[in-house]
Symmetry: C2
């Protein structure tokens, strides 16, 4: 998850902020479920359409590190054995996937411990596609969140907030990673100040259509360290966000329920 050169920065961040935040993570996440409008049947949502927010995962799917992270091993073939079956060798943070709090904390909830009612959430879309097309280092800012609220009303408690930067259209080209000659990537993400504001708003998860919650040029994973240890989930490499309205849809985050998982392969749908 880290590129050469950022290890020192990450180490400093751990000692400065990570461990402190991680210590409070368990208590915080204990109340996350209470944010959800579905925890107490406080809200009713309706839908008549399904949009798949998941990319097809292949062994050559672009990764943060630039190295392949999936191998599919054939175990049984129909013609010989009577059925087909494979074994996957899969690094958790590959393809459309969840980040669990444990990904960036010592003792935050793993993917199997995130309350189910926070994995189904009202979905609010922040569109920065026009800006990102001009500047791949664009970030969703706190001002973007405030502008969304000025137009659409307050973010509901227990919502998920997604960045639609249009970056999913680049998934089959080098522009998805968009690495420069020094290996620094350039794609959009959430600014840490936006993450801080979304914590205040009792948002349960954030979604990006790029490779990372942080923008590609980040040197310190500041948004990861702000967001995940606070007991919230992230979803990276989402697809088709451009098909959704700014508000009114629900997201269903089919994250892995593997004990100890720090996140991993996720099937995500929008219902609207």
């Amino acid at each position: 998850m880290c590129v050469p050169g950022c290890m020192a920065t990450v180490a400093a961040t751990i000692s400065r902020r990570g461990l402190f935040r991680a210590a409070g993570a368990t208590a915080f996440v204990g109340s996350m479920s209470a944010f959800s409008p579905f925890a107490a049947q406080a809200a009713t949502m309706s839908f008549s359409k399904v949009v798949d927010l998941t990319h097809v995962l292949t062994p050559d799917f672009p990764t943060f590190t630039g190295k392949p992270q999936l191998t599919v091993e054939v175990l049984y073939r129909f013609e010989k054995d009577g059925w087909n079956e494979n074994q996957w060798h899969l690094i958790e943070h590959t393809g459309t996937h969840m980040d669990a709090p444990l990904h960036f904390s010592t003792n935050g909830p793993d993917a199997s411990s995130i309350p189910a009612e926070t994995l189904v959430a009202p979905l609010c879309i922040v569109n920065i596609a026009e800006r990102a097309a001009k500047d791949p280092d664009s970030q969703v800012t706190a001002d973007d969140i405030k502008a969304w609220e000025a137009k659409n009303g307050a973010l509901p408690d227990g919502a998920a907030v997604a960045m639609n930067s249009g970056w999913d259209q680049h998934v089959k080209t080098d522009k998805f990673r968009n690495a420069d000659k020094d290996g620094v990537m350039h794609f959009p993400g959430f600014h840490p100040d936006a993450a801080a504001l979304l914590l205040e708003r009792k948002v349960v998860g954030i979604v990006v259509d790029s490779l990372s919650l942080d923008y590609g040029a980040s040197k310190d994973f500041a948004t990861h360290y702000r967001w995940l240890p606070a007991g919230r989930w992230g979803l990276e490499c989402a697809a088709n966000l451009g098909q959704l309205p700014e508000k009114g849809a629900a997201i269903v985050v089919g994250g892995p329920k593997i004990a100890g998982a720090t996140g991993g392969m996720t099937r995500a749908f929008a219902l609207l």
Copy 2:
């Protein structure tokens, strides 16, 4: 997916039926999407509650073969690296998981090709828990389906039909596999004649709370061979079906979108 002694039966089944059915699978699944009430926004569903239908997956989760099918390899640790991350070595048909048509056909759709709108479906529950408690070889029969319809009205097009046998409560004991001294397992499943009727009813998927779509003592995977090559999906090892009404909920099947997958780890929710 096969136990010792059944290979000859499976081979005979392939030559007798499997290849024939597989040949028609592609054409059939092309129309599966048309069954879905969400494909044409023909139906609106509402929900205010989420029920997790997924077991926590651990390396010792019971399997059809009796051998472990998951290994979690730690790649990075927060204290040393600044984040936590693992690699999974996972056989597809493990834990709460999907069977794609390709699992039991030569050229049926893989897990990534199943239309998303058929993975969100009205969920109808057939309760055989009382019968299964007395006889672990119980099966959901065509008569059970007709009795459900007599009580609840016709199964809607594009529905998923689940067997609630109460078997999920045994997941942490040997009774989940319930193997006798000869290695033959005894747990409930769908009778192939019920599968045939559900094909007529334009059902998109069937769900079991046991290890297999076929009952444990099956020697020929007759339900698998009837159901999957017809372009339908299955879900095995579902949890918490006993918390749901016989009708009125929707199931969301978060199956893996890995190219070539024959099924695999799935996060499933019921919305009601």
